[in-house]
């Protein structure tokens, strides 16, 4: 009797686990789905309020690389939560030109193991020409701008509009040197 009850409980848990497996690979949350639980959304204000610093809604330079990596992943997963915010971020400059000749400028944030990277694309305010007006590839930079998200081939990308490359702010929030 006890064993049957236990087996039934285990089977129920297995079904729950497998149904969760199915949900795991669902596409990233869209604007209509708006996150997976109410408890998640109720906790937004705490850490978002703490990220406001130095006139920016979301100052990612306050975080270390592990936390910044996790935070940017959250931004990609829940772009509606962050769209329109002023953001400051430090990372490595990256330039990419696709087959159609479109240029992408982004700041890459590596994780602690230095093998995974999260990137935020940026579009500088005003007219700028590569490479004259941009840093060297891989150079550590701090970029500010207004966050926007767009979908391309079912992938969500983040970009900073009206962006500006500002004096370098090391992770932790200390102004060190000017690159411009």
């Amino acid at each position: 009797m006890i064993r049957s009850f236990a087996l039934a409980a285990v089977s129920a848990a297995a079904v729950l686990a497998l149904s969760s497996c199915g949900q795991q690979a669902d596409p990233l949350p869209s604007s209509s789905s708006h996150s997976s639980s109410s408890e998640e959304s109720s906790e937004i204000p705490d850490f978002l309020a703490a990220l406001a610093n130095d006139g920016f809604d979301c100052d990612l330079t306050q975080l270390n690389s592990n936390m910044m990596y996790g935070q940017i992943f959250d931004m990609v997963s829940n772009p509606d939560r962050y769209t329109g915010m002023t953001v400051r971020v430090t990372g490595n400059f990256n330039y990419y030109k696709d087959g159609a000749g479109k240029e992408y400028f982004s700041v890459f944030i590596p994780d602690a193991a230095q093998c995974c990277k999260q990137g935020i694309e940026f579009v500088l305010n005003g007219e700028h020409k590569y490479p004259d007006d941009y840093p060297a590839d891989g150079e550590e930079i701090t970029v500010t701008g207004v966050l926007n998200a767009y979908d391309e081939y079912h992938v969500t990308y983040l970009q900073l509009l009206d962006a500006e490359i500002v004096p370098l702010v090391k992770m932790g929030g200390t102004t060190n040197e000017s690159i411009n």
Binding site: C21, Q24, D26, E39, M67, Q71, F73, C116
Partner: protein
């Protein structure tokens, strides 16, 4: 200094993904330590590594074929491999350790080759690194991952408690347990299936490096000081959970790789327990 670190930690804990990482990390540590004692005693310490490489190979195939949810391919392949290794390993021409090594490196090689021949992502090295070392994927969990992990932990703990006596018998003397009427093959199958589930789950969350260490180190550390099966299991579970908690917190505070920080904590505890057992002579008793 300490108060600064505490306030920093308090701030980081306001992030949902940090709380998810801690919950999932501790549950995986607990489950793998329970299984770890059985696997180490059955001389299958390396099975975590082997099966996670099998899962890596299956993941590559799923990516190449274009399966929407790769879990539908990874899980069955890993479960079948675990059954083949754990259930029939002792009766085949290729014995346990050789079979694990063969499947492990074979699946790794095929998986890596497929990822290079049919790349589905522009960053192959990052994909491989993330799968093998977990990287910071534990900081990118969603609430569905947490529920999946809680459900799996309930299954593993329930099975372990319900079938504790049978698992004990099968672990120590399979032939004797068969002679006394215990369906040893059935329990080996159960252990194999649970092992595969835990490894697939943990590999997706924290990487194959971490799951191997979580299986081996807590069990071996506990065996330095305790002689009974129950004592070893309880001590192993405590060591595993404490090391996972310390490792995750340190990696969040000091921005170190999560998986290797937890493994470093496990190694430190093993050295301490080995030293204590050497001083007190408990391992010889």
């Amino acid at each position: 200094m300490m108060s600064e670190m505490l306030s920093k930690l308090q701030y980081y804990f306001t992030y949902p993904f940090v709380r998810y990482a801690v919950v999932v990390g501790l549950l995986i540590a607990l489950c793998s330590s329970l299984l770890g004692v059985t696997l180490v005693l059955k001389r299958f310490s390396f099975i975590g590594d082997g099966l996670s490489h099998v899962a890596f190979g299956a993941m590559s195939v799923a990516a190449v074929v274009g399966v929407t949810n790769n879990m539908y391919l990874i899980l069955p392949v890993t479960v079948i491999s675990a059954i083949l290794l754990l259930r029939t390993g002792q009766n085949t021409k290729i014995k346990g350790d050789a079979a694990v090594a063969m499947i492990s490196v074979g699946a790794l090689a095929i998986g890596y080759m497929l990822m290079n021949l049919f790349p589905t992502s522009s960053n192959i090295s990052a994909d491989v690194c993330s799968t093998l070392f977990g990287s910071t994927s534990i900081l990118t969990l969603k609430i569905t991952d947490v529920w999946l992990c809680i459900a799996m932990a309930v299954i593993v703990i329930a099975v372990f408690i319900i079938f504790y006596n049978k698992i004990f018998a099968v672990t120590f003397d399979e032939n004797f347990s068969k002679a006394t009427g215990i369906k040893a093959d059935g329990y080996n199958l159960l252990i194999a299936v649970i092992t595969a589930f835990i490894i697939v789950l943990a590999m997706n969350l924290v990487g194959s490096l971490l799951i191997s260490a979580l299986i081996i180190f807590p069990a071996l550390s506990a065996m330095r000081l305790f002689r009974s099966f129950r004592g070893v299991i309880i001590c192993s579970a405590i060591i595993s959970v404490v090391c996972a908690a310390v490792g995750i917190i340190l990696s969040i505070l000091f921005s170190t790789p999560v998986g290797s920080t937890i493994v470093s904590a496990d190694i430190a505890v093993f050295l301490v327990f080995w030293l204590v057992s050497a001083i007190t002579g408990r391992s010889k008793s």
